[in-house]
């Protein structure tokens, strides 16, 4: 699937396009398909996202979304060396997902 990501302009938070808006959770990401570039330009112009780009990702059997590149997986979760600051601080298996 083709997923749109970028940072929130005000806070810098990593965000993902859900089809209707932006979420901090990668699992909420929607397949932007052919419209990706169009959405990206419109959302950037509306200041709802900063420095957006399109990535490849896969929807897993359990419905979760896994970006193809490790850099985007680290963006999605948080720094692997500070599990306490990731989005899943209590999930001991969260870090395995990165690799």
């Amino acid at each position: 699937m083709r997923v749109l990501t970028g940072n929130d302009l005000k806070t810098g938070d990593v965000i993902w396009w859900t089809g209707e808006g932006w979420s901090r959770h990668v699992d909420a990401a929607a397949d932007a398909g052919e419209t990706a570039e169009q959405v990206l330009a419109a959302e950037e112009a509306a200041l709802r996202v900063n420095v957006p780009y399109v990535i490849d990702a896969a929807r897993e059997a359990d419905g979760s979304v896994r970006p193809a590149h490790i850099k985007d997986r680290i963006r999605a979760l948080g720094p692997t060396v500070r599990p306490d600051l990731t989005l899943k601080p209590k999930d001991p298996e969260a870090l395995d997902w990165i690799i």
């Binding site: 940072n7 005000k10 850099k71 500070r82």
Partner: protein, 543 residues
């Protein structure tokens, strides 16, 4: 410590308000990101993997307790409770909001700090010896000269858009603790045959994708021509540096392509011309700056410590440096606890270090390029009390210059340019070597880790260097041996094919075994490598 005069303060305050307005316009949308990016970068604000990142300048690595304490408060108030001390003797915050940045800059300005020229193609924060003004082996304190150069290079209109970033280092001892020859310009304050103090210049050093050691370009520049000569060096670079190609734009490429002699010829020509124009600040300026760096009121006291506690004695042996006054030492606070993140400190730790500096070190601290903190002037009689407080706060690791005292850049955990993570390697290596007790046997061993070719972690200059590369989407690591950033500067050589994360940790273990096996007498890892060459290490790794 240098104190801002009313001009310094007015410039920094004005800059905060200018940025406040720029940020407002970006948030409202009247500036696009393309327009705003160069403006935010001029104020040290990057966009990194998880958020904005703010890089705060710590001029020549010197700061006072109040400043350190404010850095800790900013970490708690605007970030997530910590900051990262870098090889450029700066501090980086990883979780900054654009909407807060002007307020942070205003907090910094109140204590004479800023983030100006910590990014962009300008003259960056000037680095220096972290034991400046304290060490027994220096000729003079290099910081007044570094400060003079800071004033000259701040907002210098001619050098705001150089072909590429420009890093200057100023030291004043034969022992190089600041990687001087790996800077764009390295300055060593020296004495000539007639006993006059002046500056020796090196130019064209750097790390990154094409590491180079700066050749000496002038043996002696009289102090009343220091700025003029530096300006001539910059001018030739500004005129001919490769603006067409980002990867060839650093001065090291120009010096290399022209050849040292031709570069020197052009600098001398420019220098002669500029001497006629009288651009040098009057010597009274350096005379005005010097008293800010005058010695504090040292007092005589005990010259030895009570060594009955072996843990304390080990810390004293490892983490203190001989001072110019025999009742004092410089004490290094390690930011490398076993399994910790090199260079990270929490807000509480920063405030504690600030308090200890006030109590034990005449209010002064230094940031080392190896990502540790120095209390430059500690009474030998106070060392035990200091160590006790450090120990209690997890800041008492006795590991200076050992394999556990590695440099690691933020790598793929934080940095948008990274190929691979650096910090987890650092953590695993320190845990492993600490657990096996090998750290002790290895003695001085400088391990340096970068997450990509930009070499922020100085891997080219590590006795052992590790570079993260991308191998078809997977993290991979190249090992190199034989680098040094001390006065015997050398660049490390790659051992051969790369390794996985587990593989490179094994590989570090293996090369240290070769050393332990082959070392003669008091040789350090680096000395053994230089004597026996790469072959035995390669054999152990790939044979």
């Amino acid at each position: 410590m240098y104190k801002y005069d009313s001009y310094d303060q007015a410039m920094v305050d004005a800059r905060v308000e200018e940025f406040r307005d720029q940020a407002r316009r970006r948030l409202e949308g009247s500036l696009s990101e393309d327009e705003f990016k160069p403006l935010r970068l001029m104020n040290g604000l990057y966009l990194q993997l998880h958020a904005y990142m703010l890089r705060v300048a710590i001029p020549y690595g010197t700061l006072n307790s109040e400043q350190m304490s404010v850095l800790g408060d900013i970490a708690d108030k605007y970030d997530r409770g910590y900051g990262h001390f870098t090889t450029r003797q700066n501090l980086q915050y990883n979780w900054i909001k654009l909407e807060d940045t002007a307020d942070i800059l205003a907090d910094l300005a109140k204590v004479e700090m800023h983030a100006i020229q910590t990014s962009g193609n300008c003259i960056r924060n000037i680095s220096s010896d972290h034991f400046a003004g304290a060490s027994h082996d220096e000729l003079v304190d290099p910081r007044p000269y570094a400060e003079l150069m800071r004033q000259w290079s701040s907002f210098h209109p001619e050098f705001t858009y150089l072909p590429r970033k420009f890093k200057i280092c100023v030291i004043a001892s034969e022992k190089d603790r600041a990687a001087m020859r790996l800077h764009d310009i390295g300055v060593q304050i020296v004495k000539n045959e007639t006993g006059e103090i002046g500056a020796r210049f090196y130019a064209g050093g750097g790390m990154g994708r094409t590491p180079m050691i700066a050749p000496m370009i002038r043996e002696f520049v009289p102090l009343d021509q220091l700025i003029t000569y530096a300006e001539a060096c910059l001018r030739v670079y500004n005129r001919y540096g490769r603006r067409d190609n980002k990867y060839k734009a650093r001065i090291k490429i120009l010096v290399h392509e022209l050849g040292r002699d031709e570069y020197v010829r052009q600098v001398e020509e420019e220098f002669a011309h500029m001497l006629e124009q009288g651009v040098e600040p009057p010597l009274e300026e350096i005379a005005r700056i010097k008293p800010f760096f005058a010695d504090p009121a040292f007092e005589d006291g005990p010259k030895q410590v009570d060594r009955s506690d072996p843990d304390f004695a080990l810390w004293v042996d490892r983490n203190t440096n001989r001072h110019k006054h025999d009742s004092y030492v410089s004490a290094v606070i390690s930011l490398k606890p076993v399994g910790g993140i090199p260079g990270d400190a929490t807000g509480d730790q920063m405030r504690l270090m600030a308090k200890l500096a006030k109590q034990y070190s005449f209010d002064e601290l230094r940031i080392m390029h190896t990502q540790n903190v120095v209390l430059p002037h500690v009474k030998i009689g106070d060392l035990h009390a200091l160590w006790t407080e450090l120990e209690a706060a997890g800041l008492g690791s006795p590991n200076l210059d050992t394999i556990e005292d590695m440099i690691a850049c933020p790598g793929l955990d934080y940095c948008a340019l990274a190929n691979a993570r650096s910090i987890p390697l650092a953590q695993r290596i320190s845990e492993r070597f600490d657990a096996s007790g090998k750290t002790e046997k290895l003695g001085e061993l400088k391990l340096k880790i970068s997450g990509c070719i930009n070499a922020c972690g100085h891997h080219h200059a590590g006795h052992i260097g590790i570079l993260g590369v991308d191998k078809k989407g997977l993290e991979n690591y190249q090992l190199s041996l034989g680098g040094s950033e001390a006065e015997d500067t050398s660049l490390a050589k790659i051992t051969g094919p790369g390794f996985t994360e587990d593989g490179v940790i094994e590989a570090v273990d293996k090369v240290t075994d070769v050393y332990l096996d082959q070392r003669e007498g008091e040789e350090r890892f680096l000395d053994t490598y230089r004597r026996i060459g790469m072959a035995p290490f390669k054999e152990a790794l790939y044979g």
